[in-house]
């Protein structure tokens, strides 16, 4: 490899670890709209943070911080509430999830399910 090309290659190799730090990062647990229509999600987290917002089909919403627990989750479509879970409901649904497992709460037509997060 010639001089300038070698310098460029090394610059990229050395710069790559830096790139890992400039990523915009995401945190679990996530919520995912697996319905084929937009929905409104009202969610509250264990740190007191909450939101109420519309999301398109396929939307995946990451948590504000790693390791938070969802304490309230309400899903509505066209103004009609589809699901309304409190902390006990969510805890019961998450009972089968291994401690420390990063999960995505998938919103389906038949309910809300915790799914282990894996690299797609």
């Amino acid at each position: 490899m010639r001089g300038p090309a070698r310098r460029l290659a090394w610059t990229l190799v050395l710069a790559f670890p830096l790139l890992g730090f400039v990523c915009d990062q995401s945190h679990a647990p996530a919520l995912q709209n697996n319905l084929d229509q937009p929905i409104k999600i009202h969610a509250a987290y264990s740190n007191g943070q909450s939101f109420a917002q519309d999301f398109p089909p396929g939307a995946r919403i990451w948590a504000p911080h790693e390791g938070l627990v969802i304490t309230r989750l309400q899903v509505a479509m066209n103004g009609k509430v589809l699901f309304d879970l409190n902390s006990q409901d969510i805890e019961r649904l998450a009972a089968g999830v291994a401690p420390g497992q990063r999960i995505v709460w998938t919103i389906e037509s038949d309910g809300i399910h915790p799914v282990p997060l894996k690299k797609d």
Binding site: V22, H42, S50, F51, A52, Q53, G58, R72, K119
Partner: protein, 179 residues
């Protein structure tokens, strides 16, 4: 539902944000110039010219981003265009939900879809669309060019106090991208 409708800052977020990528396209996409006529044409030409100059100014970072992105193609990364950038999707490194912008190149690991990923980036009180957040960075690169990365790190680096990140959040909610 009162508790649900209140954000961490105590401000009601009901109806605060109804933005998705489709609505964004309608809001910010190419639309007929309401003024029309010669003035409208000149205005459009001026905007396009400024945009082209910005992309040339950002080109050094775009080239680096392109080389990084192309490095992922043999490992499954695919190329699309969107959010004012060449997008490398399904990049083999990084975590789902993350994104990286270098010039007019955006890199998204597997599990990160710029149109459908939302996160509370940099302390945002509401979920922000990842694609729009990264799109703001492309415009910031077009303004700051090769000085973007040094300026970014001198402005606080990866932190919720960095004005570049706060501006990217603001842009994703319909405001200005300028820090």
């Amino acid at each position: 539902m009162d508790r649900i409708a209140q954000g961490a800052n105590g401000v009601s977020q009901e109806n605060q944000l109804k933005l998705n990528s489709r609505e964004f396209g309608q809001r910010y996409g190419v639309a007929p110039n309401p003024s029309g006529g010669v003035g409208g044409v000149l205005s459009t030409v001026g905007r396009v010219g400024i945009d082209v100059l910005g992309k040339l100014w950002a080109l050094p970072n775009t080239i680096i981003g392109g080389l990084v992105g192309l490095g992922g193609v043999p490992f499954g990364a695919r190329v699309e265009f969107g959010n004012n950038a060449i997008q490398f999707l399904d990049f083999p490194l990084g975590e789902a939900g993350e994104g990286l912008t270098l010039g007019n190149v955006q890199i998204f690991p597997r599990g990160s879809d710029p149109a459908t990923s939302f996160g509370f980036y940099y302390g945002s009180p509401v979920p922000i669309n990842l694609g729009l957040h990264e799109q703001a960075h492309t415009f910031q690169y077009q303004v700051f060019g090769p000085t973007f990365l040094p300026t970014y790190f001198l402005s606080g680096g990866i932190s919720a106090s960095n004005p570049f990140e706060l501006a990217a959040n603001r842009y994703a909610l319909g405001g200005s991208f300028f820090p």
